[in-house]
């Protein structure tokens, strides 16, 4: 009996220390959530998903400009994250890691779409590309999206990553495979262009 109690206390102490050391899921950083997800904690994935998916969906939607494609890519990205969770290196920042996977999925999908056969319209002709010039909507947030849509892709991506997703310039540069100076330049030029586009909005009563 005595030996039982003697052996039991250290085990309890270790369990208590382990429990105390782990922060609650809501307080955990994305990196800690990722670690716990890799260790098999399903609830950690729920928290990680809730924290990351709005940013990821926003990024993909602004890249693809199509909700269905963005949702498809979101699923593809998360399935890749799930499969590659074992190769996530301890200490690596999670959001740039996930955004880089999403970006590569988008680029792969676009590359395969370029060789995909086009669906014919019922009369047997190729559907015409629509290049409509949309007027800026009355709501500022909608007007922002339309103006952002009109920017060249490189400027748009840099603005989305740094100003909307909240990455630092350095992190955005790693996701885009570019230099910090180039990203700063793209954001600056994109912002100037966005400002010009939105002047029309600010002039409307």
């Amino acid at each position: 009996m005595t030996s039982y109690s003697v052996n039991m206390w250290p085990a309890l102490e270790v369990a208590r220390l382990t429990f105390e050391r782990l922060p609650s899921l809501a307080e955990s950083t994305s990196e800690q959530l990722m670690e716990r997800y890799v260790d098999g904690e399903a609830e950690a994935f729920e928290f990680l998903y809730r924290r990351v998916s709005p940013n990821l969906m926003g990024y993909l939607l602004r890249l693809t400009r199509n909700r269905e494609r963005a949702e498809d890519l979101l699923q593809i990205t998360f399935s890749k994250i799930h499969r590659a969770r074992g190769s996530f290196l301890k200490g690596a920042p999670v959001l740039p890691w996930i955004l880089a996977i999403a970006r590569r999925s988008f680029l792969d999908e676009r590359r395969s779409a370029q060789v995909r056969t086009e669906d014919l319209s019922p009369d047997g002709s190729l559907p015409e590309q629509q290049h409509e010039e949309r007027a800026l909507p009355a709501e500022l947030s909608d007007a922002l999206e339309v103006a952002l849509d009109r920017l060249p892709e490189t400027y748009r991506e840099a603005i989305v990553l740094t100003k909307i997703t909240g990455l630092s310039v350095a992190e955005a540069a790693t996701v885009l495979g570019s230099t910090e100076t180039a990203v700063k330049l793209r954001v600056h030029r994109g912002y100037n262009q966005l400002r010009k586009e939105l002047e029309q909005y600010s002039r409307t009563p």
Binding site: D39, F45, G58, E71, S87, A92, S141, R195, S202
Partner: protein
């Protein structure tokens, strides 16, 4: 002093950007796919991966030494080759630790790895130039026994280099979505240097063209191949 005129828009980050969300059924599908039968994943630590890479390089160098000893290469030549290989093994280990050790995504590591990707082939070609004892014109080198020896030596170096590069790529498979091409290039260079030196231990030729073509070009070729393979193997 006039006050600056306020611009038409506040700062970009303060603008009312829409926060789009995907449909609930899509979210539910993702959640269920990613949490169904979720169990802990056995992960290989960075230290373990680095150790595996060094072991692959050492194995190839040992094969090169055995090959040289078996083909009656002079003891001085073997010793010199082994010393060079040991020196470059330190460089290889440093490239592995600095290039693959720190987690990708930190900005400083990209700069360090870019510098390594340029410095390693330049230094290695410089080393080969200094270790050349004789020089024959390219016309003489490109014909006859010299050319066939260069071809066979280069093929073996390429084979050994590809073995090491493949080992490094496999050890770090799926770990780098951010800069897979750069990491692949480093893996190719590490393997190329390993293969060239392993063959160099047993290679009796110290002619400049031979060293550049059979041992130097291999490093560059494997760097390019690593860059191409990195996109496929290192990105998840």
């Amino acid at each position: 002093m006039s006050t600056p005129k306020p611009g038409p828009l506040p700062e970009l980050a303060d603008l009312p950007w829409a926060k789009p969300e995907c449909r609930e059924e899509v979210s539910a599908a993702i959640r269920s796919a990613c949490t169904k039968n979720l169990c802990p994943v056995q992960r290989m630590s960075s230290r373990m991966r680095l150790t595996l890479c060094i072991a692959a390089s050492s194995f190839v160098a040992a094969v090169g030494y055995w090959f040289g000893a078996r083909h009656n290469r002079s003891e001085l030549g073997l010793r010199m080759g082994l010393l060079g290989a040991l020196g470059w093994a330190i460089v290889q280990a440093a490239v592995l630790f600095m290039g693959f050790g720190p987690p990708r995504g930190r900005v400083s590591t990209r700069t360090v790895r870019l510098v390594l990707a340029v410095a390693v082939p330049v230094l290695f070609l410089g080393y080969l130039t200094f270790s050349a004892w004789s020089f024959v014109p390219f016309e003489q080198f490109s014909h006859g026994a010299r050319a066939s020896h260069a071809l066979s030596c280069g093929s073996v170096a390429l084979f050994f280099g590809a073995l090491v590069s493949g080992g490094v790529l496999l050890a770090w498979r799926g770990t780098d979505p951010l800069t897979p091409r750069l990491s692949g290039t480093l893996a190719g260079l590490i393997g190329g240097v390993g293969g060239a030196l392993a063959v160099g231990i047993g290679c009796p030729s110290h002619e400049a063209w031979h060293l550049w073509v059979s041992h130097g070009v291999i490093v560059l070729a494997l760097g390019v191949m690593g860059c191409l393979a990195g996109r496929r193997l290192l990105a998840p």
